[in-house]
């Protein structure tokens, strides 16, 4: 869909690394350029026309995000991306509210950014991390989470869609469990919000994180949606301009309330505005259409790959646009170097989910991750090159 909107596609490439980052449509690039060329100014401070326009554009994006994921605009904190969002949850909120012996449930298929902050907190506070077991397809099911819950469970922190297996976790059911049992529900939406409709309120989510660059938006910006009553109890990680009401020589100070409390200093203004445009762009196409297109294309990809004897597939069933595979007997990185020589861009590695290797018995895979602009021709090009992979070492060496 909409291939003509993406200047990068004017080059003869097949872009299959959307889990890492996505291409940007012209409207997003132009929207950011417009800020730089027509109304550059800082937020929150000026009385002149450009500054007023900047303020409106910047704060307006909170409404756009709120509509997109069904939350209140006052619940939308702009961050530098998912990593910063999750760190804010852990160190602004959890550090204050968890105690020695409290349990946090994760899975072994989480991205580094949803593991390491918890490991650090566990080191600091003696919080216990429990990994809800994955099933034989490496997927995380509600039942597994339910079995891992004890009276000590205070938080469940999981990705909505895993970035290696691509399984879509039933966050609605998990959110219901959490609200029944008084457990905080922290959702890493990095791989879901860009690809399907995510409903913050309806899924009983307490914290939701995602990155603009994985959804047609710019790098350097993302969102933390924090439930209003929890936000009030969060201590900012950064102090400075734009987040305080007053401060005095006697040491007293008062902070702003609401999201700006967490946005000290000059934020990435152009990027926030660009993110708003990206969301509008996605909504125009429709999240249902985007998801449907990806899932159908993945099915096609799997059915074509299954015809090639020396391809090992790992997660054919997951209901998203992510597929991990290997060429039998070939190290994943050699495979991605090979594909690159035909202008096919994929990712090789453990995809930042380093502890998943214990479960998969295989450390590294080639990952194809699809997005709205991928089509059958892209898939057929990959298939054709993989069919010829007997000569892979002629190409990569």
């Amino acid at each position: 869909m909409n291939r003509e909107d993406f200047p990068m596609l004017n080059q003869d490439i097949v872009y299959f690394d959307n889990g890492a980052t996505t291409l940007k449509p012209k409207v997003v690039i132009e929207k950011m350029m417009e800020y730089y060329q027509e109304y550059t100014s800082n937020i929150h401070r000026g009385d002149y026309d450009a500054a007023i326009k900047t303020n409106e554009a910047y704060d307006g994006v909170r409404k756009i995000v709120a509509h997109f994921v069904n939350c209140k605009p006052e619940e939308v904190i702009f961050t530098s991306g998912t990593t910063m969002s999750i760190n804010t949850v852990v160190f602004s909120y959890m550090r204050k509210h968890l105690h020695k012996g409290d349990e946090v449930i994760l899975s072994k298929a989480e991205h580094a950014s949803n593991v390491l902050p918890w490991l650090k907190l566990s080191e600091e506070l003696g919080v216990v991390i429990k990994y809800a077991p994955l099933d034989s397809n490496m997927e995380l099911k509600v039942e597994s989470i339910e079995k891992t819950i004890t009276e000590k469970t205070k938080v469940i922190s999981i990705a909505h869609v895993s970035n290696v297996i691509g399984d879509v976790r039933d966050i609605k059911a998990i959110g219901k469990l959490c609200s029944e049992k008084g457990i905080i529900f922290n959702v890493d939406g990095a791989q879901s919000v860009p690809h399907m409709k995510v409903d913050f309120k309806d899924s009983n989510i307490d914290f939701l994180s995602f990155s603009a660059h994985k959804m047609c938006g710019p790098t350097g910006v993302g969102v933390l949606v924090a439930k209003e009553e929890l936000m009030d109890e969060m201590t900012p990680l950064c102090f400075g301009g734009g987040m305080n009401q007053t401060f005095e020589v006697d040491g007293s100070y008062e902070l702003k309330t609401g999201p700006s409390k967490f946005e000290a200093g000059t934020p990435p203004i152009a990027e926030v505005i660009g993110m708003g445009e990206a969301i509008k762009y996605l909504e125009k196409i429709g999240m249902e259409n985007i998801h449907k297109n990806e899932v159908e294309l993945k099915k096609f990809l799997v059915s074509e790959l299954e015809k090639i004897p020396n391809i090992i597939l790992y997660n054919t069933n997951s209901n998203s646009g992510i597929l991990a595979f290997n060429i039998d007997g070939v190290f994943a990185q050699d495979s991605s170097v090979y594909l690159n020589s035909y202008n096919i861009y994929v990712r090789a590695g453990n995809h930042c989910a380093k502890i998943l290797k214990d479960e998969m018995k295989i450390k590294n895979t080639v990952r194809v991750s699809l997005y709205l602009y991928n089509n059958k021709e892209d898939v057929l090009k990959l298939i054709e090159v993989l069919k010829r992979s007997a000569d892979i070492f002629k190409v990569v060496i």
């Binding site: 190290f331 994943a332 990185q333 050699d334 170097v337 090789a348 590695g349 453990n350 450390k363 590294n364 070492f393 002629k394 990569v396 060496i397």
Partner: protein
Amino acid sequence: MDSNLRREIILDNYQNPTNRGLVNDDSYLKVNTNSESCIDNLDFMMKIEDNKVKDICFDGEACAISTSASSILIRSLIGKSVDEVRNILENYKKMINEEDYDKDLLGELNVYDTLQPNRKNCALLPSVAIDKMLGSVRDGRKN
């Protein structure tokens, strides 16, 4: 070098590497190289006696370039004095980084004289590992 011959040497060393497999011997130095820039992950072990490299072995998961380079480098270094090893490593790094180097000294290692930029770290991986172990000899540490 003829590119078919080059490929044959690299492939042969990838598929049948010299001294793949670690030993259970405390007198060896040991190091892991988990490269940040790529996904190669190799362990190396080296035995030094009377200022000579008696043995080097390695194991792990890595691409064709770093596996084969480990194999060839190991063969080039075993039996050499620590100073000779340092000299070979230095020239090897210079070759990979496209600086002037002593071609005659490197023998079979010359197969890596024209790598694509994104494969340079792969080829350098074993030399970094061996360097690290030599560094620990100099510091008087064992690990």
